[in-house]
Symmetry: C2
Subunit: 437 residues, 2 copies
């Protein structure tokens, strides 16, 4: 059943360690965890985004009445988060900082690299009234640190600003700004000729098309994009829409401050990239996409932005970013970027001399566990050679011989006398670890 990734025990060690690492970074930065139910009313799920077209609706198999489509599985963590904030607002303290790591479902047609069930990891900060701009930088910095802690190559967060883009588009004569944005968002897929054709169809003038495509070429690792964008502004500016001009100027300043703040905290992470559009109308300020060095084909591994209203009726401005965890884990595993040091938790297999003395082996295992050392007892009192083989096959590094009172590192063959109330495995062998390869 394609599109539903399922990992082996050792692959799950890698996935679980990636999730644990994300949780730790988010929590160290004061984000509280929530989980929302996987099921929402479809009326709430339905919307304009591509993902909303892929909703899985639920019906009770045994129900005699015809299947109704009132319930559906969430396809992201933003829609349920919005509902959660609306529902729990009276008991939440704002700005509310939350992280959420859960599976989501999208009924896509099965195809290479498209998952129909996958983990997402989201952080958002939402306010009741106004949300200071420094929080845009904060969420980007937290995500940059979270990505840096993972066994993946360098991730670069590309940033743009919707106000900058809207101010610019309007000032060069584009009237349907969301429509133009949606076309520019396809630049990678359909190329500049394709974008031009779409803009043409939307009534965008040829000179405005030039300006829009020139804007998309501008990028810099610091505030130096301002020079290029000012030059372009001088040559493209066509009307005297003061409001648009102010939007543009504010957006430029915000983007420059954002890139500088993120690079100050996590050097070399942020790029101002005026090509970033993001499909959703939802965003109103900073927008983010993240590229993984050497794995650009994955597309953006971490996206998001600033929005004025989390909820449909308005209110709750916020900023958030979302990692596509399963796609990242899938790539880590398929590209061999990291692997588990072993598939099982046990650091030690306690051998069993004969079934009558199984209790003695159990007691050793319990003494180790009481000191936080994962251990298991051999399933049968086979010959020691067989028991060592069992440990080897399971990937357990140490075998304990109760009668001899000795423990053997079966990788090196080194054997030493040991007491269950004091022996320690090397720190790196205590638990399975995820190792960059």
């Amino acid at each position: 059943m394609s599109g539903f990734p399922e990992w082996s025990p050792s692959e799950r060690v890698v996935e679980a360690s990636i999730i644990a690492s994300l949780r730790e970074v988010f929590a160290l930065h004061g984000f509280a965890e929530i989980e929302t139910r996987a099921v929402e009313l479809t009326s709430r799920l339905a919307g304009d985004s591509d993902a909303a077209k892929e909703i899985y609706a639920l019906s009770r198999l045994a129900a005699e009445d015809k299947p109704d489509a009132r319930l559906g599985l969430h396809f992201d963590l933003t829609v349920p988060f919005a509902r959660y904030v609306e529902e729990f607002a009276p008991s939440l303290v704002f700005p509310f900082r939350r992280y959420q790591i859960q599976k989501v479902w999208r009924g896509e047609r099965p195809q290479e690299g498209r998952y129909r069930e996958f983990y997402q990891a989201d952080i958002d900060i939402v306010a009741r009234e106004t949300l200071p701009a420094h929080l845009d930088a904060e969420v980007a910095i937290v995500m940059a640190r979270a990505l840096k802690a993972l066994p993946i190559p360098k991730a670069t967060i590309h940033m743009n600003n919707r106000r900058l883009v809207e101010g610019f588009y309007r000032s060069v004569g584009v009237t349907d700004v969301p429509g133009a944005l949606r076309s520019v968002d396809k630049l990678d897929k359909i190329g500049s000729d394709g974008v031009r054709a779409e803009l043409e169809a939307k009534g965008v003038s040829s000179t405005a098309q030039d300006a829009v495509l020139e804007l998309a070429k501008i990028h810099s690792r610091d505030a130096s994009f301002i020079g290029a964008i000012d030059d372009l502004w001088q040559t493209s500016f066509t009307n005297g829409d003061d409001e648009a001009e102010k939007l543009f100027a504010d957006g430029v300043a915000e983007l420059a401050a954002l890139v500088n703040a993120v690079n100050a905290a996590v050097p070399g992470t942020a790029v101002a990239d005026l090509r970033i559009a993001r499909g959703l109308d939802y965003y109103t300020g900073a927008v983010f996409e993240t590229v993984l060095e050497g794995h650009e084909d994955l597309g953006s591994i971490c996206s998001g932005g600033r929005y004025d209203s989390l909820v449909a009726g308005g209110g709750f401005p916020g900023v958030g970013l979302s990692i596509g965890v399963s796609r990242l884990v899938g790539r880590v595993l398929s590209a061999g970027l990291a692997s588990a040091s072993r598939a099982v938790p046990s650091a030690v297999l306690i051998a069993v001399t004969d079934e009558d003395s199984r209790g003695a082996s159990d007691a050793i295992a319990d003494a180790l566990r009481a000191r936080g050392i994962p251990a298991e007892v051999a399933p049968s009192a086979a010959k020691f050679g067989k028991q060592i083989q069992h440990a080897e096959r399971r990937g357990i590094p140490f075998v304990w011989f109760p009668d001899a009172g000795e423990v053997k590192d079966i990788r090196s063959g080194a054997q030493e006398s040991a007491r269950a109330d004091s022996w320690e495995p090397p720190a790196e062998d205590r638990w399975p670890r995820t190792v960059r390869t």
Copy 2:
């Protein structure tokens, strides 16, 4: 939307700590974690169990073709585990010890205390060929320890043995053993008269009804049930079915050994209780149900047993137990058995003197985080009184004043000078904790 529990951030702290505690106990005993996809073919999910009648089928909302019911959400973790073992058998090492903690879905009619989405936590050990009996005791011991580590009252694991029951039933003249078991399983719901009526309808003789109901009364905290059961056997035994007699004798011995082994490891945990039937035909040896002292109305919080074949075609004998985590969490929260020490991860709020010096506050937060102390920076440079109030409302115990170089415990009012590279919060304040109340 009833039946879909959703927790506040501080309630989620309790749920997450319960799940983390389960994971730790399971892993210390050498159980590897797996996760299976939430979605299975409905043909695989469908079956005789009550839960199978409550399957949620999936259909793509946007699909033009009529909804097909090929995919459904798993309603437990046993069916997907069986499929996983079949699929991955060549790469697994047996006996395979796994734990699995995931949400499951059941399309029950909404009613008090019935969840439609909930966490289960399962452990199983499965073999390729034969599974030694000591593993029955091991899974029960691991679960007893896992339950003991939770903020809940004493849990007692009630145990029976299918071979004992089948041998006894056949020896007193019951021909439809699974049918009789299903009736006895309802003893709590319909009472002994109700069970009698059902047995009568199934053609069970009056003396056999007596014997079956007398058997269900036998229980003991050690092997002393053997005396009572032998007495009953002497008066009830009606035919000379040697195979049944052997089943009975083997079952009695197994059950006695099991109760003794579990009580030796976790004193006072196990009860031989000949009333335990379990609805499923699936079980072939030990069966388990678990009662929480003072919360008997919850029903069994942890159930399972030994089976000859995990997979439909036969093969993979195993033994497993499953905790209904969400029902347990729901009770812990509603009965106030435990609560979180705070709702947010942050131990410290770094105050901001003015927006120009926000960078200094960020630097202090980062120095604390680098030493594993969760911290956040005040969202705005309001008056210190307001910032302290913000910490109070969020439940953050400490506020740091960068200019003064001092940290204040806002609960006691105590304030001391502190350095970001050395200050430590009291250990119990570092992270939110779940506290028994």
